[in-house]
Symmetry: C2
């Protein structure tokens, strides 16, 4: 006997999510059956709503419900500094330190030839366009200290050099091999504070 | 900055699921935003459908889309044996062995005073009713070898004794393939206690 069809289908969907294996997927699906009808309806709605409403800021590619994200439209922020991150979750991690008051640029990925992700697959040209169009004084590279992050940093450094702006990289206060998303706030704040000119 | 509202809401819903902490919830929600609209719609639907269609078999309380589950309505099965399990997932685990061809009874929980779950909160009276109404020859107790499982087994044993049917319990002992040296003391003690004459 297998799980009854609607349940099997739900298990299958949970299994498509990252880090969810067949056993966790089953546990989650069985839990859903035990939730109240109201809760399940809300959960189901939240999925649709998040997908429908959340898109990307047209300037920095942060996740946003409008064309310009909260950060880009915040006039109190220093618009002459751009911090380049790989993903929105990295941006959130930096925001939590309360240490940085400039703008961001979310690359939406890192260069990773092994996964078939080249420079044109991430938001690099949009970054160059921003730097060209605006009075940018500094670009901070805040990419994961991984092979992909390093490769992307190097590539960006080469591209940005001709602009004659300050280019910095967050300090390796981060333990190498960890993921930016999981770094504790203090370490991350130190890394921003101790950025070095490259 | 926090995640934009629809995203924060989705993270919150994921976090309500068992074994999903804030970081995993965030990872899952961000993944959902990257899924295609179609996939998200399907996932959202699967949730609703599973909740709406799946309920419980009126006889054995296995999860089922109809009043009588596949197992209870399968005439090839031996209807004089009932295997008592705690949850549907335990039933599925036993079914996967292809070893057992009788019926089941899903208690939908185990007695656990610490969680406020008493004998009346699980499907014990329904089990007694089934035994009373049908010609049952054997009841196999297949509950988790935990404090709650043991307590429930003991309680059921006391209740079932007057029926003068065979009452058995699945064997506790060394898992096949393990090494005796590494088995924990309690398992090893159970294995010695439950030794069989050869």
């Amino acid at each position: 006997m297998e799980y009854t069809k609607p349940l099997a289908k739900l298990i299958e969907y949970f299994q498509k999510l990252p880090s969810i294996g067949p056993k966790t997927a089953t546990r989650l699906a069985l839990y859903v059956i035990k939730m109240s009808e109201n809760e399940v309806a809300n959960f189901s709605n939240a999925l649709l709503e998040a997908k429908q409403k959340v898109s990307y800021c047209k300037t920095c590619f942060n996740m946003s419900c409008s064309d310009t994200c909260e950060i880009c439209s915040d006039n109190s922020r220093n618009k002459s500094i751009i911090c380049v991150v790989g993903e929105t979750k990295d941006l959130i991690a930096i925001e939590k330190t309360n240490e940085y008051k400039g703008l961001y640029h979310v690359l939406q990925g890192l260069i990773s030839p092994i996964d078939g992700i080249g420079p044109d697959d991430i938001r690099i040209k949009e970054l160059l366009y921003r730097i060209n169009q605006n009075d940018i004084k500094e670009v901070i590279l805040a990419l994961n200290p991984s092979v992909e992050g390093e490769a992307t940093s190097l590539y960006l450094h080469k591209l940005l050099k001709p602009f004659e702006i300050k280019i910095s990289r967050i300090a390796f206060g981060l333990p190498v091999g960890c993921e930016l998303e999981y770094a504790d706030e203090i370490t991350l704040a130190k890394a921003i504070e101790g950025r070095v000119i490259i």
